[in-house]
Amino acid sequence: MSLAALNKVEMKPKEYKSDVSVVWCPGCGHHGILNGIYRALSELGIDPDNMMSISGIGCSSRTPYFIKSYKMHTLHGRAGAVATGAQLAQPDQCVMVTGGDGDGFSIGGGHMPHMARKNVNLTYVLFDNGIYGLTKGQYSPTSRPEMTAYTTPYGGPEEPMNPLLYMLTYGATYVAQGFAGKPKICAELIKGALEHKGFSYVNIFSQCPSFNKIDTVQYYRDLVEEIPEGHDPSSLGQAIDVARGLENGKSPMGLLYKVDKPTLDEKLAEIVTKVGGHKDYDVNKIVDLYRP
């Protein structure tokens, strides 16, 4: 989002909290991510009147209820597609999607590539807990095969996907990864994403103590490591290398990739300019084209 056009407001992080109480379980990583979002919004001074917060279905998809903004709570998997329409309708507003790994990459998997490819000017924060929480613990596209869950009592038959590689491959122009246990880093990455003009994707590991018994806080703490200094986020090659894992096998934390490209709304506006379009165009001229 290019935030320059928007009014800046002075609000403390906690002032972005709505009056709806947060419904997540105690110990859930999502609390940390939500705090990161509040902090990012505050640091950027985003006016809640100029923000659309959009989600699908799942635990993390409840996030819009907890944030002061305009918001839509849509259907399972469809938040990105709804947000694409909303962003194009109001290209000067800040649009943020929040959702989970199942919502985004399983049922919503048909939409993720196209937001990235089209460079839709919005931020997608994916709360990656490797499980379906709201339906009480089924394996997701990011679950490890050794996880026994609701529908995998004998272990999972599938390999997990790599969301970072996926997004880089499809052309996302901002790709970052964080961990809920590091809310300050989350806030930084989300802030960078909201400031970025183009499709920004932030993958955040988030423990689910209720249903994902193997991806614990400690597991994620051991899994992630900050991307070493010297990484060039403008290099797709370096970003892909990092996305595949750091040299010591750890999962990267930080900004992998950031590049500036024209956004979808800019390209659509170019078409209007090309045909000399304007709101007051006399549509009767279109009718005239069909006279015999």
Binding site: V20, P48, D49, N50, M51, M52, I54, P64, Y65, K68, S69, Y70, K71, M72, H73, T74, L75, R78, A81, V82, A83, T84, G85, A86, Q87, L88, A89, Q90, Q93, G110, H111, P113, H114, L264, L268, I271, V272, K274, V275, G276, G277, H278, K279, Y281, D282, V283, N284, K285, I286, V287, Y290, R291, P292
Partner: protein
């Protein structure tokens, strides 16, 4: 009655110029001030396969494609084989011969004119000029004004360069000479030119796009599907002129999702699809109902179920349009009769979506999609445009406020002080999730009851005829045009017949159906689907016991079919 119309059918292989030849005749007739109604069938394949284009033209209004052809122009043997059963005494065939790929047997009483189309085209060193040769011959044989046809050809080919234009005009003249060398023994002729009314000639699909743009459309999300794609093409071409947006989505689920996002964000939005796309959209239609988001969708019906007969005509989406989706999900369903309706009712559909903040489905069908018709030129100034009710910025904003007419004001994102959520969850007046049983009743009632004024606000269903009748015909969609002619012809024979032609399919104007049925001894419901879907709704919602007359062969009704059935049931 004296014959005022003429039906010319051209049949051939896809890619031979059948469609462009038909388009040229239609355009020339329209330019000559005549009424035109065309009907086409295509193969589902991209190239090749049998293709047919029928032009019906008259000095008076034409309501449908007609019973059969008067003149058949066969480009090849396959077209001849598929159409020879309709060669009845008095009909005319113009065919590619000698030198074509077939030798027709001419039935007794049929007049045949051989025109060596392929041979002439090859002599001109361009096989593609075959249709121009045919056009020249048809012009000379049936009084299709040469001057007007050449004007139309010039408009079309001039931009491709003088050489191409002159070559085509030359091929046209060759065909004309071949025809003039024959002795004309039939009496078929296109009516003489007259001063044209203020008309346009346009297809059903283009007309839906035109209506939407006249209706103030700002955002269109598209996904390709036969036979609806041309609507998106029209909008893609013209909406940027109005600084509007068309985006092609990754699938139909995404297209209706984008529509809802854009509509929530304040833009007048729509999509267009066919049955399979509508099936995919049904979950999001429920979301539009629940979140009370204006949502306009055109469904150009085709042969189902599944992939079915994608390029063929059918009216079989009434069930899914009215009730498709889970839960109790009220919406408005309209259905067009002809191309004129495609313009006017696209405006209606956008207006109703804005007024009632719900999904509005406009049903068109496969034969109208590609049918070009002459219609009165629409004018922006003549349309009333309705916009959503906006919040007055006073007091506390409640998105789902229970108002007197159950329609709650909306507030676009960016409006200070009106932050709210559009949600698919059951919610209270403020939009917060609520499972409270009392609130559930209130919000369910709200979503249904807000539609209680749709019937009184929409125009009454048209009744064709007065007084008591032995038979009342109730039908919908493009079958209405066929019924109009059937009713007129039966009346001319002295039969007491009336017609009832609903355009507002849901909410169903039950009292109007009942009142009509009281004036008729029997009710016949012809429609192009297998189960008799409108008959089903009539039985379910009214006390009428109709005689259902469904056909489901991929083709529209003909007036003769309805007349024959009417006589059978009386």
């Amino acid at each position: 009655m004296a014959k005022k119309d003429l039906v010319i059918r051209i049949g051939g292989e896809g890619g031979e110029g059948v469609v462009s030849a038909g388009d040229f005749i239609a355009a020339a007739c329209a330019r000559a001030g005549l009424e035109v109604y065309t009907f086409k069938t295509f193969p589902a394949e991209v190239k090749g396969g049998y293709c047919m284009y029928q032009v019906r033209t008259s000095s008076e209004r034409v309501y449908n494609q007609g019973d059969t052809y008067d003149v058949f122009c066969a480009f090849n043997g396959e077209a001849y084989e598929l159409n020879k059963h309709l060669l009845v005494p008095g009909s005319v065939m113009v065919y590619d011969g000698p030198g074509g790929d077939f030798e027709p047997e001419i039935p007794e009483g049929v007049i045949a004119y051989p025109i060596p189309m392929t041979k002439t085209a090859l002599a001109l060193k361009s096989k593609r000029s075959k249709n121009m040769v045919a056009l020249g011959a048809l012009s000379a044989l049936f009084n299709i004004s040469e001057a007007t046809l050449k004007e139309v050809l010039t408009l079309k080919f001039k931009k491709k360069g003088e050489d191409i234009l002159n070559f085509n005009l030359g091929a046209f003249d060759e065909g004309k000479k071949l025809a003039q060398a024959l002795e004309k023994v039939d009496e078929f002729r296109v009516a003489d030119a007259r001063t044209p009314d203020d008309v346009i000639i346009i297809s059903g699909n283009d007309a839906c796009g035109m209506g939407a743009i006249l209706g103030g459309l700002e955002f269109f999300s598209a996904y390709p599907i036969t036979p609806a794609t041309e609507i998106a093409k029209f909008v893609a071409t013209h909406i940027p002129k109005k600084a509007g947006t068309l985006l092609q989505a990754e699938d139909e689920i995404a297209s209706i999702a984008q529509l809802l996002g854009a509509s929530y964000a304040g833009k007048k939005s729509m999509t267009a699809t066919s049955g399979p796309g509508l099936a995919l959209m049904s979950e999001m239609l429920g979301m539009a109902t629940m979140s009370e988001t204006p949502c306009m969708l055109v469904d150009v019906q085709r042969g189902g179920p599944s992939t079915g007969m994608p390029t063929k005509h059918e009216q079989s989406d009434l069930f899914i349009a009215i009730h498709g989706g889970h839960g109790d999900s009220p919406r408005i369903v309209l259905s067009v009769e002809d191309v004129n309706d495609c313009v006017n009712m696209s405006v209606d559909a956008l207006n109703l979506a804005e007024q009632y903040q719900c999904p509005v489905i406009l049903l068109s069908d496969g034969s109208l999609a590609f049918s070009t018709q002459t219609i009165p030129a629409p004018k922006k100034e003549n349309f009333k445009i309705v916009n959503r009710r906006k919040w007055d910025c006073k007091g506390e904003y409640k998105r789902y406020e229970l108002t007197g007419d159950n329609i709650s004001p909306m507030a676009d994102p960016g409006t200070p002080g009106a932050q709210h959520i559009a949600t698919g969850l059951e919610h209270n007046e403020k939009g917060s999730p609520s499972w409270d049983i009392h609130n559930r009743d209130l919000q369910m009632d709200k979503r249904y009851n807000k539609l209680s004024t749709v019937i009184e606000n929409y125009h009454d269903t048209e009744i064709d005829g007065e007084g008591e009748a032995d038979l009342g015909i109730i039908t919908w969609g493009s079958t209405i045009g066929v019924a109009r002619e059937a009713v007129e012809r039966m009346r001319a024979e002295g039969m007491k017949v009336k017609g009832f032609y609903p355009k507002l399919m849901w909410p169903m104007p039950v009292e109007q159906y009942e009142a009509f049925a009281k004036t008729c001894k029997k009710i016949l419901v012809p429609e192009v689907n297998y189960l008799g879907q409108l008959s089903h709704f009539i039985r379910a919602e009214t006390s009428i016991d109709p005689i259902s007359y469904p056909i489901c062969q991929g083709l529209p009704f003909t007036p003769s079919q309805i007349i024959a059935k009417s006589k059978e049931v009386l």
